[in-house]
C-alpha cells in the first residue's frame, strides 16, 4: 500500500509540473541556473570516469582477443559501441544519481524543513512547478550532452591505452575500428537512455526532497532514498530499454 501511495503522490507531483508559469522569465532564469549546476558542474567527473572506463574496456578486450582469430581493430568498435550503448549512459547516470540526485534532494529537503517552500506557497508560487520543473527539464536537456562528452572521453581513454603500446593493439588498429560505421539505432538507444535516466534521477530525487519530513534527520534520509531509489530505477529502466528495443 505504501508503494502505491508514493507512486500516486509521485504521479500527482509530476502532473502539477505542467501548469502555466507565474512569470516565464523567472523559470528561464532558474532553468539556466540548473543547467549550469547539473551540466557544467558534472563535466569534470563524467570526463574522468568515462576516460578510465574506456581505457579499462580496451585493456580487457585486448586481453580477451589475444590468441583469437578476431582482428585487433575490433577493439575500437567494441569500446565505442559499449560506451554508447551501456557504459557511458548507465555509469554516468549512476554517478549523477549520487552527485545530482543527493544535491537536489537535500536542497529541496532543507527548503522544506526551513519553511522556504511554505513561504513560496503563501506568496502564490506553484512550488512544484517552480522548484522541480526547471531541475527536471535542465537535466533532460544537458544529460545527452554529458553522455556525448562521456563517449568521447571513453574513446580517448582507449586511444591512450593504444598509445601506451603495452596492451597488444596499435592506435592504427583502434582508429580503424572507430571508423567502422555507427548504426543509427545505437545512437537512438544512447539518447533514449540518456533522456530516460535524466528524468528518473531528477524526478525521483526532487520528489524525495520535496516531501521531506522529520527535520534535519529527514533531509539525510530523503537524500539517501533519492540516491538508492533512483539508482535502482535507472538499472531497471536500463534493462527494460535493452530488452524492449534491442
Amino acid at each position: 500500500m505504501n508503494f502505491f501511495y508514493h507512486l500516486g503522490r509521485y504521479t500527482k507531483t509530476l502532473y502539477s509540473l505542467f501548469s502555466r508559469p507565474e512569470k516565464a522569465a523567472m523559470y528561464w532564469k532558474e532553468l539556466f541556473r540548473q543547467m549550469n549546476l547539473i551540466g557544467v558542474g558534472s563535466v569534470g567527473i563524467i570526463s574522468i570516469m568515462t576516460l578510465f572506463i574506456g581505457a579499462v574496456t580496451s585493456v580487457q578486450f585486448a586481453y580477451q582477443l589475444q590468441g583469437n582469430l578476431i582482428p585487433m581493430w575490433y577493439i575500437g568498435i567494441i569500446v565505442r559501441d559499449s560506451l554508447m550503448l551501456e557504459l557511458a549512459p548507465t555509469l554516468s547516470a549512476l554517478l549523477l544519481a549520487g552527485k545530482v540526485g543527493s544535491n537536489i534532494s537535500s536542497e529541496l529537503g532543507t527548503m522544506r524543513i526551513s519553511e522556504q517552500i511554505d513561504a513560496m506557497k503563501i506568496m502564490g508560487v506553484n512550488t512544484t512547478s517552480y522548484l522541480i520543473g526547471p531541475k527536471v527539464l535542465a537535466s533532460v536537456l544537458v544529460m545527452p550532452l554529458l553522455i556525448i562528452f562521456g563517449v568521447a572521453f571513453g574513446i580517448v581513454g582507449g586511444l591512450l591505452v593504444a598509445l601506451g603500446g603495452t596492451s597488444g593493439f596499435t592506435t592504427t588498429e583502434f582508429i580503424r575500428g572507430l571508423q567502422d560505421p555507427i548504426r543509427d539505432f545505437d545512437t537512438i538507444i544512447m539518447f533514449i537512455k540518456s533522456l530516460s535516466f535524466a528524468f528518473i534521477i531528477t524526478s525521483i530525487s526532487a520528489y524525495q526532497g520535496f516531501h521531506t519530513t522529520g527535520g534535519v534527520v529527514g533531509v539525510g534520509q530523503a537524500s539517501t532514498r533519492a540516491v538508492v531509489y533512483s539508482s535502482i530505477v535507472v538499472i531497471i529502466a536500463d534493462f527494460l530499454i535493452a530488452a524492449l528495443l534491442l
Binding site: E22, K23, A25, M26, T110, S114, E115, Q116, D118, A119, K121, I122, M123, G124, V125
Partner: protein
Amino acid sequence: MIQVKDLYKSFNGNDVLKGINVTMNEGKCNLIIGKSGAGKTVLIKCMVGLYEPTKGEILYDNRDFVKMTDKERKHLRMEMGMLFQGNALFDSMTVEDNVRFPLDMFTSMTKKEKVARVDEILSRVNLKGAHKKFPSEISGGMMKRVGIARAIVQKPRYLFCDEPNSGLDPITSIVIDELIQEITLDLNITTVINTHDMNSVMGIGDKVIYIHEGEVHWEGSGKEVMTSKETELNNFVFASKFWKSIKEDQK
C-alpha cells in the same frame, strides 16, 4: 476582516482544532496566545492554506478561503504576507533578492521600479546597507526584518506572523513588535500574530485570543488580559514570577 467559523482540524484522528470561532479585527494587531500544542500554529497555517481544515469556514471579507479554487486562492494569496518563526529566507539569495522575489515573480514592474520599492521597504524596516548580504551573514533580528520586508513588499492586506519574537533578545523583540505595529497602522493591514511573548500581548495586542486545547477560551484586548478572571488564561499569563508579581502589585 478575517472570520474563522466553526473550524476543525484533525491529524490522524487527533483533533487539534475543535470548532474555532473568531474574528480578526481589520487594521489591528490580533494576537493568538496559548500553551505549546494548543493549536495556534495549526490555526494560522489553516488560515493561510498550508493546512486544509477538516471542517469549517475561513472568510476573508466574506470570501470563503476553504471553498476557493486554486486560482482564486492564488489571487487571494497576493493579498497575504507571512513572517515565519524561522524566517524562511531563501539561503541562496541576498537580502535584496529575497525581498524582490515576490515582485520578480508576480509583478510587471520595471527593474528601476523594483529597486526603488526594495530600497523603500528595506529602509522602512531599518535595513539600509544590508542589500547585498546573505541571510547567513546577518543577525537574528535582521533576519526577522528581512522576513517582514519580504512579507509586506507587495503591500498585503493581511499579515501573518508566526512567533515573531522567538529566538530574539528582549530589546530586539520590542523593536520587532513595534515595527509590526507601525506597519499594521501605516498600511492599514489586518495582522494576525501567534505568540508566547507576554510583552507583545501587553504592548501591541489590540485583540488577544487565548486558545486552550484547540478551542477559543477567551477574547479581549491586551489590557483586559491583566484583569480577566478566566482561570486558564490567568494560569498561562501569570505563569512566570515576573508577571505574577505584577498581578500582585496591581491588587
